[in-house]
């Protein structure tokens, strides 16, 4: 396969000089980055989580797939999302990164990837990028902006690639369009505001959503105007044909693109959601993934399930390896990046939204190993991450304290 050979080959060469000012990776203070990966159907935890706390001794089979990176890994288990309501099929999975789900509300709360993107995303072409390696299901949205509204999750590798690296041929028209957009947005804002005055309280809230959206889109347009004047980076990476039913093509390709996005400093926060659901094309993986995730403790189903989960983890392990080999400025992409790997459910067999696993990879990790928690809010980890990225707040969602990530 083209994709694999290119990546394991000489590496991704930046053919253009780096953009000055905004796009520049400082050599003395390399930026911090975040890569968040969520596997929708979770992992079979008995094979992921070590039996005891502390250093990784005899790692169970799934965890072992990540053994290349044990020296930078902390595994937390038994985390909970107490503000995620149980019992509505897969729908509560939308709350994994925000720690919140209420079935009576369509809105969610700010998710951790976006909270951190808000902190570190101002200097790049994209504040954040959210990828989705799988079908757009009703409950596959996991990334929420600070208004609790869904952030676009892009599921086409081709679109992501074009977004990141394609030369914009209609540059002049594009600038004109952006200028026009700004004057249109201005008129829309004024119109919504005067319309709002004529409405009752409930409807005013509807118009407020519209007004906030206009303000955000204005910011986006301004950013685009800035970046429209600057060339996109070019990379020596060929996007091969891919198949949505293939772990190798789909998950690995999206992870490749995630690494490339970080490496070219197109963004500093990438989220990859893996809502795989059906069967896979790979011949060694048989059965329907969702069906197998409801294994009912039957050994033969668990065996097949583990093969699928193993396949996904192997791709993640490879991506981390690539990050270590690639550099941005003077340090490796891995050194600049904190990687959070978690799952939307504790167990897809039971549809429970507590007992969650969270794996954190960081080049600066002092102590490594496994920490078993009991009913500790996931948001404690999120708060710890936020503070690590320089936030001054002392609460995130349902947090009760901040979990120390590196020490």
């Amino acid at each position: 396969m083209k994709r694999r050979t290119v990546l394991s080959g000489a590496g991704v060469a930046l053919l253009l000089p780096r953009m000055e000012s905004l796009g520049q990776v400082s050599e003395t203070h390399p930026p911090r980055r975040l890569l968040t990966i969520v596997n929708h159907l979770s992992f079979y935890q008995p094979e992921l989580i070590p039996e005891s706390d502390g250093a990784f001794g005899n790692a169970p089979s799934l965890l072992d797939a990540l053994s290349d990176h044990f020296e930078h890994l902390k595994v937390f288990s038994g985390l909970a999302n107490p503000a995620v309501q149980n019992g509505f099929g897969h729908t509560p999975c939308v709350g994994i990164l925000s720690g919140y789900f209420n079935k009576l509300e369509r809105r969610n709360r700010l998710s951790i990837d976006q909270a951190i993107a808000d902190l570190i995303g101002g200097d790049t072409r994209f504040k954040s990028l959210v990828f989705q390696a799988g079908e757009n299901l009703n409950f596959s949205q996991i990334s929420w902006d600070r208004h609790g509204l869904p952030v676009k999750q892009i599921d086409s590798p081709r679109r992501i690639f074009n977004l990141l690296f394609q030369v914009d041929e209609k540059h002049a028209t594009q600038k004109q369009v952006l200028a026009e957009d700004r004057s249109i947005l201005d008129a829309l804002f004024q119109q919504a505001r005067s319309m709002k005055k004529r409405l009752n309280a409930t409807d005013r809230a509807k118009l407020d959503e519209y007004l906030t959206s206009v303000r955000e889109v204005e910011q986006t347009v301004k950013r685009r105007e800035y970046w429209a004047d600057r060339d996109r980076p070019q990379v020596d990476y060929e996007l091969a044909d891919f198949d949505r039913r293939s772990v190798d093509d789909y998950v690995a390709t999206l992870l490749d693109l995630a690494v490339l996005a970080l490496e070219t400093d197109s963004t500093r926060a990438v989220t990859v959601q893996i809502p795989f659901w059906e069967g896979f094309r790979e011949s060694e993986l048989s059965g329907n993934y969702h069906d197998l995730s409801h294994h009912g403790q039957k050994p033969e189903k668990i065996k097949k399930l583990l093969m699928m989960e193993h396949a996904i983890l192997t791709r993640i392990c490879d991506a981390l390896g690539t990050m270590k080999r690639r550099s941005a400025g003077h340090s490796s992409v891995f050194d600049q990046t904190t990687v959070l790997l978690t799952a939307s459910m504790g167990s897809a067999n039971a549809h429970n939204f507590d007992d969650l696993p969270a794996l954190v990879f960081d080049g600066r990790m002092k102590k490594t190993g496994h920490w078993q928690k009991r009913d500790m809010p996931m948001s404690n980890l999120y708060l710890g991450l936020l503070q690590m990225f320089g936030a001054e707040q002392d609460r995130f969602g349902e947090s009760t304290s901040a979990l120390e990530v590196l020490a």
């Binding site: 509204l149 005067s194 509807k206 118009l207």
Partner: protein, 766 residues
Amino acid sequence: MMRLCWPLLLLSFLPPGNLRADSELQKFFRQNCIKCHGPEDPQGDVRLDGSVDILTASTELLETITSLIEAGEMPPEGSPQPSPETVTKITHLLQQQILAQRPANPLRRLTRVEYTNALHDLFGIEFDLFNLLPPDHVEHGFDRFGDAQLMSPHQLMAYLTTARFVSERLLPDARPNTQTWEFDVRHFHGSRNFATGGGGDYRDGDEYVLTGFRPYRSNLHLSIDPERHDQFVIPAFGVYRLEVKARATSSREDEVIGINLGDGRHPTSFRSIRRIPMPHGADGFTTQLTLRAGDQPGFTFDSARVPGRSLAKKPHKGPDLRFSSVRLTGPLAEEWPAPAMRAILPQPNMPPGELVDHLAMLLTQRPLSVEDRARFVKIGRQQQTRGASQVAVARSLLTALLSSPHFLFKAESPELTDVERAYRLSWFLWNSVPDAALLTAAESGELRQNPMAQVERMLSDAKAGRFVDDFTRQWLQLEKVDNFGPDVRVFKDVRRMTVDSMKREARELFRHLLENGLSMEHFIDSNFVMANDRLARFYGLPSVAGDGFVPVTLPETSERGGLVAQAGFLKLTSTDFATSPIHRGSWILRNLYNEKIDPPADVLIKEPDIRGTTTVREAILKHQELKSCARCHSKIDPLGFALEYYDPVGRKRDQYRHVEEVPADDEATTFTKKIKFTRAPIHAAMKLPGGRQVYDMLSLKAALMEDKERILKGIIGKLVSYAHGREVTRADRGHVDAIFESVAKENFSLRAAIHAIVAHPAFGRK
């Protein structure tokens, strides 16, 4: 000023204080409920020992409590029961409370479907905007409820992009250059050219032959250069005429050709956009399509009897489809300026002010306020100063207005004005903006005083088909019918077009009842079904000619008739190989009874350990052992189990046939995995909560018929929800009852129900 208004506002939200009623409710709860729902370890996390204000803070909880008390489900069996009079009195009090608490109907915006239809009706052009606008949130089954409709930066950006796309396509700078391309067998390419191997298609002399159907791939695509296999790409947006010469051989019925877009080699980009029925003996077809630059049209044999498979192992015997030529002409510009351009720019050189007024009225029939108008005029002036042409100015203004709240939100006064009433009616029955005749009727007051004539006119218009489509699709979740393709290894006689027909059946039944003023009881049970050639054969009924649906009277022995006996419903509630009694039961409760059933929020579903169970029945009945699950599952399970004599594609069966995939051999791919069958007997009989036994299709339908009043009210509730764009709850009971009473006098006619909904005073209020 704002500050002063606040206390008043808050007051208006409080329910009317009624001390006597409050204390009566408290007394009732104290006597009957707090033993389990008290401060200590309250069941289901529900406490009923507080003051009534706290109790009634959640409308949802209030509705649940009311329903449970009314149905006699609470207090539970075995506890002391309140007298029937007390129950009536208390439910009445609670009902009043619910009505008082009902929130105002929130502001709604156009759904994706409404937006698309509105542009079609305003400008006479069919855009496929489904790739541009995000899907609407579905809440309680429908996408048109104001409280579920979010606005986000992503949504707004999509509106802006879509508006720009539409404006640029409607108002091009120059007349498009119409071209014609001719393709014959030399330019036809099938699956054999690619690494995927032969998909059952081949060249035979001057014809290209398709024998099988591959849902994710095109079997025939076109190239310009006979030597190369590069796919032909549409150069520019516009309407194209497609003339195809093709014929079917070894076939005695109508066949179906699929038109698709996307690179036929790559399943991920592949999209079916239209199905063309080819009547028996036809030698081709002509149609028009709106295509975009970059589209790659191709063809599939959708009514093929077999999947697209290599002919090397097994030669093909059944019907095939033979293509000899394709001619494509476009973008068509027969009239210039195009009608849409004339509608947007009726005169040359309109000053920006006039143009803004004209567009605002064209889009919404409402003028902009003076200050808003000035803002849009400014955009036009700015463009003029930059030296933009008249057409470019119009493009900017159209883009702005199509993205504005003025167009996107459905502004409604507390008491609808005549024009607003026309809009509501039009969103209901046409899924789009009103036409001139409806607006005239509204402005003359005729619509308000006697809507009957307009409703009749609108229902007879072809645009009413959109209501039938959109409503049945959402009410009955018809999209799910083909969520799972029937596995050809298991369901050998169920083909793509059979499934397609299953999906259409419910819609056709609705249409037939609506057009002929027939009773809604036919949704429950009926002595006829709507069927076309394929469905009639699938059901084993007297044969029907053609792809169109006609009523077919059922023989005495048939169990079909009614929604629950439709293969579409039986299939959409099943997975690949297995039926799901829970899905079927809850579908009936949700969609026919209009009941809300969600697991309670505090239930922690225990790891289902099903190792000890041997049948689906045993596994599912485990739910009923848990008290928290039993309340709903005692209702759901019997309804679902009664249908166990119908398999995942809706065929009659007398035993289970469990399907297991056998691990593939080394060289085998996913598609050739072997399967193993195990047979097991069916036990369908179970008792409904009232004690009625249901054990098969007929006894189930008899039980549903006994509940006729509840079910018809449930269906009316769905129609009212759709018409008003909000969920119908217990608070609307009076409203629904009134419509039921008036429809009862008309033999429960579906058409009469539509009339009654429009004539009801609530239709004229926000």
